[in-house]
Subunit: 221 residues, 2 copies
């Protein structure tokens, strides 16, 4: 029994990787697309190459969740253009947390509502919110930004209800990848807090889009 | 005795605001310029307008410390151009911490060495470092990036030795402004840790450039 199986038994939850090719979760009114799956690859010299997953939510509102690293600028512009979108069509940008592989391209969206961690801003005006008190920031009845602290103390995830795959959680580094039991703790600022956030996610989401891997399905017994 | 005086007496340190017009600290080999002093202004509706201080260090290397919010893109390009610089002339970009009013324009510098909080990267390659162990990341004998946690758990500041004003610390939100005794704790993720970082700064720097105000001088008895 590996650590992943053990975790699954303890919580009554199983996680199953999806095919690399399954990156679109269509739905009404919102669909979720992974524009770029994140990765994290240790290198022989002790460094690692990494990028954060970039996701797009389309429907009544156009929402970008994480923007990749600064080197992703041209990729991101092209990925949007391929979908008929200019940067100014993105109404809401969410940075799940303030690490450089997730918030590298905020400047492409100066006019969007911006939620980076627990900060909600429009231009230089920062709006009051209750993310730090554990309350979701509701976009509409289908989409909300939920506090999921642990990796940093101000991480958020975006929950999308009603896709063909059920509820999708775009989770940033709450999860590194599908089977991350051997890695997430080393990257966590507070493992106890993150464990609570992870369990809540595993009990509410049907698909989780992690920060450094491909989407995975959650099966509850 | 107000809280600021009390603090000064307790620590044997006094802080004195500099004139708004003093934003350049020339030196050999490095000079420090405040391109934009940050601010934080509460609004009647409960929101606040805010931006992070943007600073430029010039000398053997060209170093930008904090990039302002996403709305600062055009300002930043013009401020660099006014000094004869293109974005690609900036060799090192430091984001003191991952809040949106400090890391809004990372994408202008895809080829720079980038230090955001405790993460050191070149493109998508993240380099090992010991910031999380309390060790400075040394650029050269005059400039180093020092861990100054508290506001977030991964804040850094940039220390520049040998300016005409002595040692300058570009401190991000380690300090909000000169007299911030009534405000910094409410914005701190760990006040005890931040107090230690602040005291260390007050005992080593001659000038501190705070995250949301003009530079101030430190006088030690």
């Amino acid at each position: 029994m590996n650590r992943h199986d053990h975790d699954a038994v303890c919580t009554g939850v199983q996680t199953l990787p999806l095919l690399d090719s399954q990156t679109v979760f269509p739905g009404v009114p919102y669909s979720v697309s992974v524009l770029k799956p994140g990765y994290c690859r240790p290198q022989p010299d002790g460094s690692f190459t990494a990028d954060g997953t970039v996701s797009l939510i389309t429907g009544p509102r156009t929402i970008l969740v994480d923007t990749g690293g600064p080197w992703d600028r041209d990729f991101l512009l092209k990925a949007l253009k391929d979908r008929g979108l200019d940067p100014e069509d993105v109404q809401l940008v969410v940075g799940t947390h303030g690490h450089s592989d997730h918030v590298g391209n905020l400047s492409l969206f100066p006019h969007a509502l911006m939620i980076v961690g627990y900060d909600v801003s429009e231009g230089d005006t920062y709006r009051p919110n209750k993310l730090s008190e554990g309350e979701a920031y509701v976009i509409d009845e289908h989409v909300c930004v939920v506090p999921t602290p642990g990796h940093t103390l101000q991480d958020v995830s975006v929950q999308v209800k009603g896709t063909s795959a059920g509820t999708v959680l775009v989770a940033g580094d709450l999860f590194e990848c599908c089977s991350d039991e051997d890695s997430w703790r080393d990257l966590s600022m507070n493992t106890a807090v993150q464990e609570v956030s992870r369990q809540e996610a595993l009990h509410t989401a049907d698909v989780i889009i992690p920060g450094h891997g491909v989407p995975f399905r959650v099966l509850r017994s």
